[in-house]
Symmetry: C2
Subunit: 132 residues, 2 copies
């Protein structure tokens, strides 16, 4: 636990108490998603070995995959020069990181002045997420 405190002391959370976190496929290098972590979620990430974010929209701790089962197992964690961003090299369980069912959240590519859907669809979100 002392170790986590020492690492947290080297991080620079922003004025909302957040870091930026990038999840990258540990094998292919594909960037799968970008989200945020507060201190509690960073600690839970380290402790659990799985990506735990802070959901800015739902304003709560978000253990990625808690609903879909698509957890992200941390293989490597890197911190940037100014300590306000982390890169996690992960194994994406279920192959899809995006709530749209795409493998990556970055599924729109700029081509000739328009955004083109180049996503690899892994699941149908209507079937994975319960409707309220």
């Amino acid at each position: 636990m002392n170790n986590i405190d020492e690492i947290v002391a080297q991080l620079k959370f922003d004025d909302k108490g957040l870091l930026t976190a990038v999840a990258q496929d540990h094998k292919t290098g594909e960037i799968l998603m970008l989200a945020h972590m507060n201190e509690e979620s960073f600690r839970k990430t380290i402790e659990s070995g799985e990506a735990v974010y802070w959901s800015r929209s739902r304003k709560k701790i978000w253990h990625k995959g808690e609903e879909s089962g698509n957890v992200q197992k941390i293989k490597e964690l890197l911190v940037d020069c100014d300590g306000d961003a982390v890169v996690m090299k992960i194994e994406q369980v279920g192959d899809a990181a995006c709530h749209t069912g795409n493998r990556s959240c970055f599924f729109r590519r700029l081509e000739n002045g328009t955004l083109v859907d180049v996503g690899v669809k892994i699941f149908d979100p209507d079937k994975v997420y319960k409707k309220s």
Copy 2:
């Protein structure tokens, strides 16, 4: 120009008017840096074909490499599902993206509870940046 307007209309700048931008080596997939863009810098990125950020610390448009010469040539640009983050696959001129002289800003790796410097040092920042 109309095309850029249509793309900008699909982006979701945050309450400070910023997107998060990730620069990734277009060949190796290595994540080199993470920074931010306001609308003007996003437009300049598209127009110039090189990464132009908004420097939050200096509060100004920051054409990456303007001082060091280490510009980032855009090979591919991807937008995420909610339009608040972009990934740029780039060619990093000069091989180093980080102001510390490291190839990547993400040069500290979590190992056994401590952050270990695993950076590949490309240049000596004292020699590249003029001292004021």
